[in-house]
Symmetry: C2
Subunit: 250 residues, 2 copies
């Protein structure tokens, strides 16, 4: 029975799971759960994941949610996954777990939240929230500084000084990618000071090509549509027309 | 070389690591890093954990941070740890990972934050913040409802329907324990509606006795001191005298 991924590519933890499967030749069926239509809240989806969150998977009778747990499960359950993704060595694995755990404790109001509150909210019928965006930006900058000075301090191209990426690289890179949906000035203001992070992000894109960029392309489309919208209707656009425009183009 | 735990028992992830060691007969040296004195920000501690956060451990040459990562490492690195804590079985482990990951994504502004912003902040020289407490309470109630209706839905006494606790039980129970520092009315208002959660918390305390209660006793002391303070100086107490009183008694 084919592995089923319940996902919406607008969600970065969903993109993380899809990319991992594609990179490792794991066959799957992609079941689109449209967050903007609240399909994750339906009784049908509750049968898949009673937490009513995506991503979720079904692998035969096995149901699982939460992106980190899913990716670790896939790395262990499917044959032939290269060791560097989730090392069997006790200490190496512990360090990867440490980055993943840090990711969850430090980024919950990070890049995704900043982009959501400063750009993306109208897609979901919500208002932009500059105050929340400002709070998220502070957390985001502090977290990027820690990646720059701690996780990327060693010589290897990837996190923890490794020469090959782990699921921690994949997960953090997917977390940061929503910044690509910002306009250039805003993106540069936030990412500009962090040279190592930028290089690592480029290296990650390259080593995970073409799947990383392909799955994340929804962000570039979003950015393109937003720019067209700005060009066409100027700054006086209302929240409701912006929402309509984005829905019709994505 | 003895395992070193760099901890402050006022921090619940620190208590999680200490309790795990005590429950499993792992010898350790407890190195107190006083958060209220900002000892986690010193250059000496930066050598242990460049993230400047606790808990952190040193096991010989191995340095590790983040409580979930630490506890998983200890469960695998030390001999004779019972399998139920972090099952070797792929699916059982994946489900434990799912709870731990959910914990991190859903609780970051949960019980600890509520208690901090509504009661504990003056210990650290900060003001109480009713607005933040209100935001945290909403997240806390929603998370408790999910534990009640999803993670505790099955027949076993512990999370995921298990008859024995895993590190997910330990971690979530430590997360929720700061609610013990609230006065009875506030505690009952929050935990009262969640009967399964209350029974599970009691079962967890019992199965982890005496270490769970002993390590968490700092919360009861805190509550006792707060009550004495209320009784002695009434409601007109200033922030500064409250801070002084709590520092002198804890």
């Amino acid at each position: 029975m084919t592995l089923k991924l319940y996902v919406d590519r607008l969600s970065h933890p969903c993109r993380e799971v899809i990319i991992f499967c594609k990179l490792n030749g794991i066959d799957f069926e992609e079941v689109h759960i449209d967050l903007s239509k609240r399909q994750h809240l339906t009784p049908e989806f509750k049968e898949v994941n009673p937490m009513k969150q995506i991503p979720a998977i079904m692998d035969g009778k096995i149901k699982l949610s939460e992106s980190h747990a899913i990716v670790k499960y896939l790395a262990c359950a499917f044959p032939g996954i290269a060791d560097h993704w989730y090392p069997a060595d006790l200490y190496k694995r512990a360090k990867v777990e440490s980055v993943l755990d840090w990711h969850r404790t430090n980024f919950p109001r990070g890049p995704g939240s900043y982009v959501f509150t400063s750009v993306l909210a109208p897609v979901y019928g919500l208002r932009l929230n500059p105050q929340a965006a400002s709070r998220s930006e502070k957390i985001l900058i502090a977290s990027l500084a820690k990646i720059e000075s701690v996780w990327l301090q060693k010589k290897g191209r990837f996190l923890l000084g490794s020469g090959q990426p782990s699921i921690a690289d994949l997960s953090l890179a997917c977390e940061i990618m929503p910044l690509e949906a910002l306009d250039e000035r805003d993106r540069e203001r936030i990412l500009g000071p962090f040279k190592r992070v930028q290089k690592w992000l480029d290296d990650t894109k390259n080593v995970m090509a073409p799947h990383f960029e392909e799955v994340n392309s929804i962000l570039y489309k979003f950015k393109e549509n937003l720019q067209k919208q700005r060009d066409q209707v100027g700054s006086s656009i209302t929240q409701s027309s912006r929402k309509h425009y984005l829905h019709s183009k994505m």
